[in-house]
């Protein structure tokens, strides 16, 4: 039903609203309960019962007191002051909670401003059949991560025991748009947004990061991060810390570097093996970057996200020297164009080895890479709308985006390429597989028969392998799925597991065209993701917003704000007083062994559904009864409340004797809570301490209940022991389910 065709009907409907109106509204009562940027669902003037109308059928436009089971209904929403032109039904979600506490998502079908009061919008949806005849229930609308007030509706029959939310008041039809007092938006009230930004765009806040963002603003900070950094010699630089120095080496570890000690074999063997034949140096480098690289925070964060989309496993890659060459590709193209990222990933020897393209020939084709580039790196298995939702055909089912036949044709494209080991390869070393130069082609091994790709595109027989490859990658790149598919994955990695289709659509539009006619501009995509109203704004109240912190983010987010430094007594020479970055020993037990994902499906599946819900929660794929208690145990190790020891990730001595020591940590890592300890000395009630932890870790979102629980625990510790009081509070925040979820 189009907005125009329904206009007369809507006018009739709005004339009914006179009954609910009264003069001189004061919305301050709503403001007291709701953040000022939350949508408001209209209720009757004298109760919290929603104004509900029937948009269809004979009784169209008439108010409904009891909604038939499964009916399509309309409710009215206001306080959407800066609504974007493109924000329609897909920008909103709605749900109903029944008296038993079950929450049913509703499919929003249409959304439009009302003709008489353009500041009031009608929102139509169908009640899910599963909801049944539940009687009174509470309805909510969410928008940009913000929850509305909850209003009462009656489904099937009137009555039932469901209680209104505490503090809930009538929200009657307003006769003018709500104007917020702008002065309230200045200064501290928005610090929650800044903290969330630093967790989305980087690895968490530090004092310096916070100050810089506050001074520059989000946009300018992003522009600065996106700018190419140069070394002294004018060479582009993609990391702050130097990449691990170990070059690719021989495939079979020699006896003096095989990790097996023998009498003739001195101690450094183990160090050699760990540095060259494991991901150890890369893990440490990564964590040092994450902790300390202020001018590459965004690139590191995006590259880390890309490494979880374009997955290459360390176990199969075997050598740090091989893997780091792959990471350089992700680093370089993190702010580049997706088309070149796709090219360099495809021709990367590490990927060629991991997904077998390096061994796929005309004579013995291997379809592994062809399948995964389509499924995981670009198009996905289902045809998508531009907002990332699956296209459905008339029976309501998904439409596969390709078939085995498509995979067979792409398999032919990717045949013939292998490690560049000829004299023309600049980084060739005798006896060592070349994991530095892009793969090269042996034309004799390339299947040069005709290929039929997406959209009926035909690559004629007899093309060169490079022609085939370029045209096939273009064919993939221009598939309409790529924008929404990649945009959604990046949003899930950085912002929220369940973005609204409207959010995905806004980012996908930028992916498709950055405004200057360029497709695949990742700089523009990253900006669009991080500056979107669904990512920004004050404390989010949509119950489904956010994502579980994966272990690497959990670890960096509980250390970075607290001045992570080398553990006491370290040989400062190695680390200059800073952490050595040996933090994978903390993330591995949480099922995230950095750069060693178990398969091409990453540490966790991106389509993982949280058990018992319909919500995606990728990171919950590795959060289980088996790992849940390891998080508090890690917090206890870093700052033990029940002890006066320094705490932290310990220094682990170099290899001695015959004991292998894969966790060699010359300097260790610890955090410094003395700033917070001063707070609890100055204010023995603990309130100031809790405020600070709430601000810096939870972005000001701590609930009164949680606050009082922590206050009670602080009070239980003698005021003469501010160290224990501080650690107790830090422990309780860092271990809380509320902090595990980045919202």
């Amino acid at each position: 039903m189009s907005v125009l065709s329904s206009a007369p009907r809507r006018l009739r409907l709005l004339s009914l609203f006179g009954a609910f109106l009264f003069l001189a509204f004061n919305f301050s009562f709503v403001r007291a309960a709701l953040p000022e940027d939350a949508p408001i669902v209209i209720s009757e003037s004298n109760s919290t019962r929603a104004v509900v109308t029937d948009p269809t059928g004979k009784r169209s436009g008439s108010p409904l007191r009891v909604i038939p089971v499964g009916a399509r209904v309309t409710v009215y929403v206001t306080n959407l002051p800066d609504l974007l032109k493109a924000e329609g039904a897909t920008a909103f979600r709605a749900d109903v909670q029944d008296v038993n506490g079950y929450r049913y998502p509703l499919e929003v079908l249409s959304f439009a401003p009302t003709a008489e009061r353009p500041w009031v919008y009608s929102l139509s949806f169908r009640l899910h059949d599963a909801l049944g005849d539940v009687g009174d229930a509470l309805l909510r609308v969410t928008w940009r991560g913000m929850s509305s007030n909850r209003v009462r509706i009656s489904v099937g029959h009137e009555g039932g025991k469901i209680q209104d939310d505490e503090g809930s008041t009538p929200t009657p039809m307003p006769d003018h748009a709500i104007v917020h007092n702008q002065s309230e938006a200045v200064g501290l009230p928005w610090s929650g947004d800044r903290v969330r930004f630093m967790m989305q765009a980087g690895f968490g806040p530090t004092a310096a990061f916070e100050l810089r963002v506050r001074r520059l603003g989000f946009s300018t900070w992003l522009e600065d991060q996106l700018e190419q950094k140069l070394d002294l010699g004018g060479i582009p630089r993609y990391s702050t810390y130097k990449y691990p120095p170990f070059a690719p080496t021989v495939t079979v570890p020699p006896v003096d570097c095989n990790g097996i000690l023998s009498a003739t074999d001195p101690e450094p063997d183990l160090v050699c093996f760990r540095n060259r034949y494991s991901m150890f140096p890369i893990q440490n480098w990564f964590y040092r970057e994450a902790l300390y690289s202020e001018d590459q925070q965004l690139r590191r964060r995006v590259s880390w996200a890309l490494s979880q989309i374009f997955v290459v496993g360390g176990r199969e890659t075997e050598q740090s020297g091989r893997m780091i060459e792959y990471i350089k590709i992700l680093d370089q193209h993190a702010f580049g164009n997706f088309r070149f990222l796709l090219r360099d990933v495809t021709l990367s020897p590490a990927m060629g080895n991991y997904l077998d393209m390096a061994r796929s020939t005309q004579q013995n084709p291997n379809e592994n890479y062809a399948r995964e580039i389509l499924q995981l790196f670009s198009v996905g298995v289902d045809m998508l709308n531009q907002d990332g939702t699956p296209q459905l055909n008339e029976q309501g089912n998904r439409i596969p985006s390709y078939s085995q036949e498509t995979v067979n044709n792409f398999t032919k494209v990717f045949t013939g390429w292998t490690f560049c080991n000829g004299p023309e390869c600049p980084n060739r070393v005798n006896g060592v597989l070349n994991y530095i130069d892009p793969m090269a082609v042996n034309p004799a091994n390339h299947d040069n028969s005709q290929k039929v790709l997406f959209n009926g595109t035909v690559l004629p027989a007899g093309q060169t392998p490079a022609q085939d490859l370029n045209q096939a990658l273009d064919n993939i790149f221009y598939h309409p799925n790529v924008g929404p598919f990649i945009s959604k994955l990046l949003i899930q990695q950085m912002v929220t597991s369940n973005p609204t289709p409207a959010y995905v659509g806004r980012v996908a539009r930028i992916f498709n065209n950055n405004g200057s006619g360029v497709r695949g501009d990742l700089k523009a995509v990253i900006k669009a993701i991080l500056m979107d109203p669904e990512a920004r704004g004050n404390v989010k109240t949509d119950p489904d917003y956010g994502h579980l912190r994966e272990p690497a983010l959990f670890i960096t987010n509980i250390t970075r704000p607290f001045n992570p430094i080398a553990n006491t007594g370290t040989p400062a020479a190695d680390c200059l007083g800073l952490s050595d970055g040996v933090l994978n020993i903390a993330s591995q037990p949480l099922d995230q062994d950095a750069f060693n994902p178990p398969s091409v499906f990453n540490y966790y599946p991106m389509d993982y559904i949280i058990p018992g819900t319909n919500l995606a929660g990728p990171e919950f794929g590795i959060f289980s009864t088996g790992t849940a208690l390891k998080r508090p145990n890690l917090v206890n190790q870093i700052a033990p409340p029940n002890s006066t020891v320094v705490g932290g990730i310990p220094i682990v001595a170099p290899f001695t004797g015959q004991t292998s020591n894969p966790n060699y940590a010359p300097c260790g890592t610890r955090i410094d809570l003395s700033r917070f300890q001063n707070l609890v000395v100055a204010d023995p009630t603990g309130a100031t301490l809790i405020d600070a932890l709430d601000r810096e870790m939870l972005g000001g979102s701590m609930s009164p209940g949680m606050r009082s629980d922590i206050a009670t625990a602080i009070q239980a510790v003698a005021s003469s022991n501010p160290l224990k009081r501080t650690r107790t509070a830090f422990y309780l925040v860092a271990t809380s389910p509320q902090f595990q979820v980045q919202r």
Binding site: G101, R103, N366, N368, Q404, D607, T625, Y731, P737
Partner: protein
């Protein structure tokens, strides 16, 4: 192409609405998952357990169960010898399944103990199992008959094996749904009916059932879940009280609640898992051996935990042998053989060998036609594969399944032959995952009337009992 999609969708619609109704599209009810009733288990419920061993990556079962009679081996050899992927006939471990009318087959040479268990009647093979929408022939497949979504893709076919639903992505797995429907047999249990020693995955998730996840041995069972750092002073107790109290806050936020629920489960279980039972058998110190050792310990602790039914999930990864298959698969099967043997022996020692049924699942079989050659030789993704079922309640020493195009349970090993989906030997399953899982579920205690709920697509298949289990 368009036409077949429509047909495909029509047939899947029915199943979709059934499961949608079953799962009720609901979010967490407040702490509903935690609701545990403290009812004593009825003493007459006999203990039973299912143990799923997932061979992750897609096990090439073409090299696990091989025809050993002259013409059969010749067909096999013709397709695999030239690239160096055929196992020499002399190395095969001969078995003579009565269902194959006297024809001799051979197991992979690494499976010496499995073969002994076969000879003892404790191991059976379910032939040519894979996801299906309904039984189809090569001709039907090639003319576009309904087939599972995204055939030959790892993630999707893994999911289809784990959910036993191949028409759409199901949020619940068959292990989870089986637990839902048999929860009444486990009343008063101190921990979840389902335990995964290999992380979370959809197999273990039901509408109401959630798995317990524990780490493998050698971590002692009473240390797999512990909360460290607490003393006994008043301020320590206060901190612990606050930790527990915070877990009850902000449950209106879905992911906070999901985190709280899982953490609460871990805390509950950490109290329950107070012992570390000692096993009789020494398990191999391997990935799979350590997982199965932990399974065996939980079984030994079953009486204290008040468990009458248990479902376990363990996995062995590395079967995605696109290259280097001969060595890699051999090493994996050596590990599988030793771990299964130890586990079976331990169930004998615990006196529950007829109450525990162990079975394999895998992404898919691999192409009969090799990829690559020489030391690099491997195989690509395919479809129907053979699986082992082990235990005292198994009617061992035989093949089971549904007839392929040649009338037996075993496909015709010819590329582009009557059982090939295409040209590379992607054998069309004659037996569906539903039928395989259904047979196990029935033994486990799933009432016939609940079969359509646990397996919404079951009506598309002629039987849900393949006969490899003795009635229990």
């Amino acid at each position: 192409m368009k036409k077949d999609r429509r047909e495909f969708i029509k047939s899947s619609c029915k199943a979709l609405s059934m499961v949608a109704a079953a799962t009720q599209l609901r979010h967490f009810g407040a702490m509903s998952v935690l609701a545990q009733k403290a009812v004593e288990a009825s003493p007459e419920v006999e203990y039973k357990a299912l143990v799923c061993v997932f061979l992750e990556g897609g096990n090439d079962s073409n090299n696990v169960v091989v025809p050993n009679y002259t013409e059969g081996y010749a067909q096999y050899s013709a397709a695999r010898s030239a690239q160096g992927l055929a196992i020499p006939q002399a190395n095969l471990l001969p078995v003579t399944p009565p269902a194959m009318q006297g024809q001799v087959y051979g197991l992979h040479p690494a499976l010496t103990d499995i073969r002994n268990l076969w000879n003892d009647g404790k191991v059976a093979v379910a032939c040519n199992v894979g996801p299906l929408v309904r039984p189809i022939t090569r001709a039907e497949y090639q003319s576009g008959a309904p087939r599972p979504y995204q055939l030959f893709s790892h993630s999707d076919q893994v999911e289809q094996f784990r959910t036993a639903i191949s028409t759409f992505k199901s949020p619940t797995g068959w292990g989870g749904r089986l637990a839902d429907r048999t929860a009444i047999l486990n009343q008063g249990a101190a921990i979840s009916m389902i335990t995964s020693i290999a992380g979370t995955n959809v197999f273990n998730v039901g509408v109401n059932s959630q798995p317990l996840i524990v780490t493998p041995a050698p971590t002692p069972l009473n240390q797999v879940l512990t909360l460290t750092g607490y003393g006994t002073a008043a301020d320590e107790l206060a901190r612990r009280a606050a930790l527990d109290q915070i877990r009850t806050r902000d449950l209106d936020k879905t992911m906070v609640q999901a985190t709280s629920v899982l953490t609460q489960q871990a805390v509950n279980v950490s109290v329950q898992l107070s012992q570390n039972p000692v096993l009789t058998v020494t398990f191999p110190n391997t990935t799979l051996g350590n997982q199965l050792a932990q399974v065996a310990k939980l079984m030994k602790f079953r009486t204290q935990l008040n468990l009458s039914r248990q479902i376990f999930f363990v996995r062995l990864t590395g079967f995605d042998t696109h290259t280097g298959q001969l060595n890699n698969q051999n090493n994996l099967l050596i590990q599988l053989n030793a771990a299964l043997k130890a586990f079976y022996d331990e169930t004998v020692a615990q006196g529950i060998s007829s109450q525990v049924t162990t079975f394999t699942m895998s992404d898919f079989n691999r192409t009969f036609n090799p990829a690559g050659s020489g030391s690099n030789v491997g195989t690509d993704h395919a479809w129907g594969s053979h699986h082992f079922v082990m235990g005292g309640a198994v009617r061992g020493g035989d093949f089971y399944g549904r007839p392929t195009a040649n009338g037996t349970f075993f496909p015709t090993l010819v590329t582009s032959g009557p059982d090939d989906a295409d040209t590379r030997g992607r054998f069309i399953p004659s037996t569906s995952v539903e039928q395989y899982a259904g047979t196990l579920s029935k033994w486990y205690g799933l009432p016939d009337s609940d079969i359509p709920i646990a397996f919404p697509n079951s009506a598309n298949f002629p039987t849900m009992d393949l006969g490899f289990m003795n009635p229990g």
